[in-house]
Amino acid sequence: MKKEVFLAVLVGFGLGLVITFGIWTANKNLKPSSPSAAQTISPSPAVPTPAQNQATSAIPLIITTPDQDEMLVNSNQLTLSGKTQPGSTVSVIHETGQQILVADSAGIFSLDLTLEGGYNRISVRAFDTNGNFAAKDLLITYSSTKI
C-alpha cells in the first residue's frame, strides 16, 4: 500500500514537472526577440524602400510614392515623389515624356504624371552639382479593368 502511494506521488510529481516545462517553453517562445537581434534585421538606410531595384550609393535617392515597384493602379494620375540630396537635379523619363526638376532645400521632389494604359517604365536619376548621381527604375501598370 505504501509503495503504491509513493508511486502515485512520484508519477504526479513527474507529470507536474513535464507540464511546468511545457508552459515555460511556450512562454519563452512567445517572448519577442532581443533588441540586438531586431537591430540586425532592421533595413539599412542605404536600401530604404522596397520600391527600388537599382541604385548607386553616391547620393541618396528614395522614392516615397509610389511606395512599391511593379504596382498596379486603377488611376492614370500618379504623383511621383521622393527625397534626395538637397538642391540636386532630378530627371524623370517616363512613357509619355521626360522632365527635369530640382529637389528643394530638404531634398524633396514631386511630379505629377499621367500614365499610359498598360505598363509605364519610369526612370529617375538624381545628380548633385559634382555629377554624383543615384538612379531608380520603377514599373507602374495602369489598368481600368478590375483585377
Partner: protein, 225 residues
C-alpha cells in the same frame, strides 16, 4: 481504494504545478500581451502584402501547367501562378488558355502577389516586346554650344554632342527652383543635366543648367545647389 490514493495525489500535483507555472507577474502578462500583439501585427502585415496587387512585365523563360517563370525587362526572375480564373488575352485579342503561351512570349501579368512576391495571375496579356527606350540622361560641363548644337563632357570623360531643337526645353535653377531659360543662357563651362533622344543624330529634349559657370573652383555661390 488504491485508485483513490492514486488519483488524489496525481491531480493535486498536476494542479499545483500548473497553477504555479501559469501564475504570471504583471511584467510577464505585459510581455505576453506585447508578444501576441506583435504576432498579430506580423500576420496582418503578411495578409496585407498577400493582397497587394502588382503587375509583372517580362518574357516567359519556362512554364508548366500551373506556373510561369518570367524574366522581367530589367532581367529579374518572377514567378506567376496561372489558375482557371486567370483571364488570358492573346496578341490577336482573342481569349487564350495556358497552352497558348510559349517560352519567349512577352507578358504583362496582373494579379495578387504574396509575401514571397509570387503572383497569382488574374489577368495575363500577351504583348509585343517593349521597344528600347532611346532616351538618355547625362550630367556634364558644356565644352561647346551654338544655336544648333551642344557638346558636353561628362564626369566619365564621355563627350556627348546633340542637336538643339526649337522644341528643346531649357531651364535653369534660380533661387532653388527650376525656371524657364533660353539656349543663349548656356555658356561654356556650365554644368548641365540634359536628356537626349538618340536617333540618326541625337537631339536634346530637355536641358537644365545646374550651376552657372564659375571662373574658379573656390567660388561657390550660395544660391546654387
Amino acid at each position: 481504494m488504491t485508485a483513490r490514493f492514486l488519483v488524489f495525489p496525481v491531480a493535486a500535483l498536476i494542479l499545483a504545478s500548473s497553477v504555479f507555472a501559469q501564475t504570471p507577474t504583471t511584467e510577464n502578462s505585459q510581455d505576453l500581451r506585447d508578444s501576441v500583439k506583435q504576432k498579430v501585427e506580423e500576420e496582418l502585415s503578411q495578409i496585407q502584402q498577400a493582397v497587394s496587387k502588382k503587375a509583372f512585365l517580362g518574357s516567359i523563360t519556362s512554364k508548366n501547367e500551373a506556373a510561369i517563370n518570367l524574366n522581367t525587362y530589367r532581367g529579374e526572375p518572377r514567378q506567376t501562378l496561372v489558375t482557371t480564373d486567370t483571364a488570358i488575352k492573346l496578341k490577336t485579342g482573342r481569349d487564350g488558355t495556358p497552352k497558348d503561351l510559349n517560352v519567349g512570349d512577352y507578358l504583362l501579368v496582373m494579379g495578387d502577389v504574396d509575401s514571397k512576391n509570387i503572383m497569382t495571375a488574374k489577368r495575363l496579356l500577351v504583348i509585343p516586346a517593349p521597344g528600347e527606350d532611346n532616351r538618355q540622361v547625362d550630367f556634364g560641363k558644356v565644352t561647346a554650344v551654338s544655336s544648333g548644337s551642344i557638346t558636353i563632357q561628362t564626369a566619365g570623360n564621355k563627350t556627348v554632342t546633340a542637336k538643339l531643337l526649337s522644341s528643346t526645353s531649357v531651364s535653369k535653377i534660380q533661387a532653388g527652383a527650376s525656371v524657364k531659360a533660353k539656349i543663349a543662357d548656356i555658356q561654356t563651362g556650365a554644368s548641365v543635366v540634359m536628356i537626349t533622344k538618340s536617333a540618326a543624330s541625337a537631339s536634346v529634349t530637355n536641358l537644365q543648367i545646374v550651376a552657372a559657370p564659375s571662373p574658379t573652383a573656390t567660388a561657390a555661390p550660395t544660391s546654387t545647389p
